[in-house]
């Protein structure tokens, strides 16, 4: 790990202001950042510890939803009674990710901000446009089994690793932030994560120093909620494909996918196909997919995972 200076922030505004320092990074749970710092993939010069800011409560939002503090730990969010009852897809997604030890530490905002697990991003002996902009992408033409099948670019074919974010995309969550100048804004989670384009190192809509204070869920979507994750191990593995779904009694619903793109993948316009079944729906959701020889199975796997969800919803 490279040396860094360290401070404990006392307010979100103070944290955002401190983050204007060159090389500054926020640290909350630290489970992803410290891992990357040990590998010198992340080399912050200054760490701003935001754990003392008290943003660890889940409150009823005035419009009938829930306001989740940025520092609510994944365990506590998954176990919250209201989340379990009204936002089952979110609880399920959280519980499908990582391990008990990691969920006890990992935060809501940090989970949104996790970096890809693309093996070439982790291997500092290979080129990676995300790690070192302009160096090239070793994944293209390399081992691509776990990588993106849609929305990728000539510069990057990495996937976003989060389960939680996929459920939040299905639920139309909104990310609340404060900027270094003290202004606040709300970013729909749909616009929060970016596709790689030719700047894969820029992963979110956050500006320099912008600090996440909360994530708000709209009023409950009702229906039956599912998070089906397919992976190489029964537990503690990232998704090959995951399906977050809210299915209503009449067969309509919403679907977001994990493991297939640089961001949680949802195509609202395709959801009209849901009553016709998983085949037509997934064909519309993944229209324009350009899988590789190694990861073409993900397209079929996504359809079958959705079919399993729809069958369970009927049952």
């Amino acid at each position: 790990m490279r040396p860094f200076t360290y401070e404990r922030a006392r307010s979100p505004a103070e944290a955002a202001a401190a983050a204007q320092r060159p090389g500054a990074r926020f640290i909350a749970g630290g489970t992803n950042l410290l891992d990357l710092m040990k590998l010198q993939i992340e080399t912050p010069a200054h760490l701003i510890d935001v754990n003392g800011l008290g943003l660890d409560r889940i409150e009823a939002a005035p419009e009938g939803g829930l306001r989740i503090g940025a520092l609510v730990r994944n365990t506590d969010l998954a176990a919250d009674e209201r989340v379990r009852r009204d936002y089952g897809v979110l609880s399920r997604a959280l519980l499908a990710g990582a391990t008990g030890q990691l969920r006890n530490k990992a935060t809501t905002a940090g989970n949104l901000l996790q970096r890809t697990r693309c093996p070439y991003f982790y291997d500092t002996n290979t080129a990676c446009n995300k790690r070192q902009p302009g160096s090239g992408c070793s994944a293209i033409g390399g081992s691509t089994r776990g990588l993106a099948v849609i929305g990728a670019s000539e510069a990057c074919i990495a996937t976003h690793p989060s389960d939680m974010a996929v459920a939040m995309r299905a639920l139309d969550a909104v990310v609340e932030t404060v900027r270094p100048d003290g202004t606040e804004r709300a970013i729909p989670v749909a616009a929060f994560h970016r596709l790689p384009g030719d700047t894969p190192h820029i992963e979110t809509a956050l500006e320099a120093g912008e600090f996440i204070t909360a994530v708000t869920l709209p009023p409950p979507a009702g229906g039956r909620q599912f998070y089906r994750k397919v992976r190489d191990r029964a537990s503690y593995a990232f998704a090959l494909v995951s399906v977050a779904a809210v299915v209503q009694r009449d067969g309509t619903g919403r679907v977001a996918l994990g493991g297939v793109a640089h961001k949680p993948w949802r195509v609202e316009a395709a959801e009209g196909e849901l009553p016709r079944g998983a085949g037509p729906a997934m064909a519309a959701i993944l229209e324009g997919a350009r899988p590789t020889h190694e990861n073409a199975f993900k397209v079929k796997l996504a359809e079958r995972a959705l079919a399993a969800v729809l069958a369970e919803a009927k049952g």
Partner: protein, 216 residues
């Protein structure tokens, strides 16, 4: 490390010194240039930070390089070597300790992030002659072979049973809104963050099941 109680040079320490010397003399001169570190400006002096931790009931005031993980603090500074360093990347669980009663990977957190926190390690759970029930159950059921993962397994399982008691659901809980059941499937899923290279899993599940039954 400027501690008064330096360890004597152990066989393992000697092996590390020897390996480092071999790398310094025998390594290809260009190898350094391939890492990101060599391409970056020279590292500045490490920042030192004060932190106080309550470890197994005892308060320690420490001044540490800010980079020091909680695991290295426990092992290298407080000489509590029960917590093990397996992967140092949060993948194996050998470093599991409890902080304010919750299990975490001590390798993936900095000591300075835990000002005033109460840390419980395997040394704080029980001692020879006065074992914690989970330690005794691991012995009784042969819940280990080489023993390297065992302190992490035991800390994780004690905290895991508390999570079930508190009603925290898991990936395999059939009903999210019901109280979680104490089944082998639940125990296996909840213990998936602790790897046992010897494969003592079935005995570990038996040990945990026995303790859980006694608590229920």
């Amino acid at each position: 490390m400027q501690e008064g109680k330096e360890f004597q040079l152990s066989r393992r320490g000697l092996a590390i010194v020897t390996a480092a010397a071999a790398a310094a003399t025998g390594g290809p001169p260009a190898a350094q240039a391939q890492t990101g570190a060599a391409a970056s400006p020279p590292a500045s002096a490490p920042a030192m930070e004060k932190v106080s931790l309550v470890v197994n009931g005892q308060r320690h005031a420490l001044e540490l390089d800010a980079r020091t993980t909680l695991l290295d603090t426990l092992r290298e500074h407080l000489h509590l070597t029960g917590s093990k360093k397996g992967c140092d990347h949060g993948q194996c669980g050998a470093c599991t300790v409890m902080v304010d009663g919750r299990r975490i990977y001590s390798c993936l957190t900095l000591a300075v992030m835990h000002e005033g926190d109460e840390v419980t390690t395997i040394e704080g759970l029980g001692k020879p002659g006065d074992l914690h029930p989970m330690q005794a159950a691991f012995v009784k059921h042969d819940g280990y072979q080489c023993g390297y993962c065992t302190p992490g397994q035991i800390c994780a399982s004690v905290a895991m049973l508390a999570e079930i008691k508190a009603g925290v659901p898991s990936h395999v809980s059939a009903d999210l809104t019901a109280a979680p059941q104490l089944t082998a499937d639940e125990i296996r899923e909840r213990m998936s963050g602790n790897i046992c290279r010897c494969g003592a899993y079935s005995n570990i599940v038996e040990a945990i099941t026995e303790v859980a039954g006694r608590q229920a």
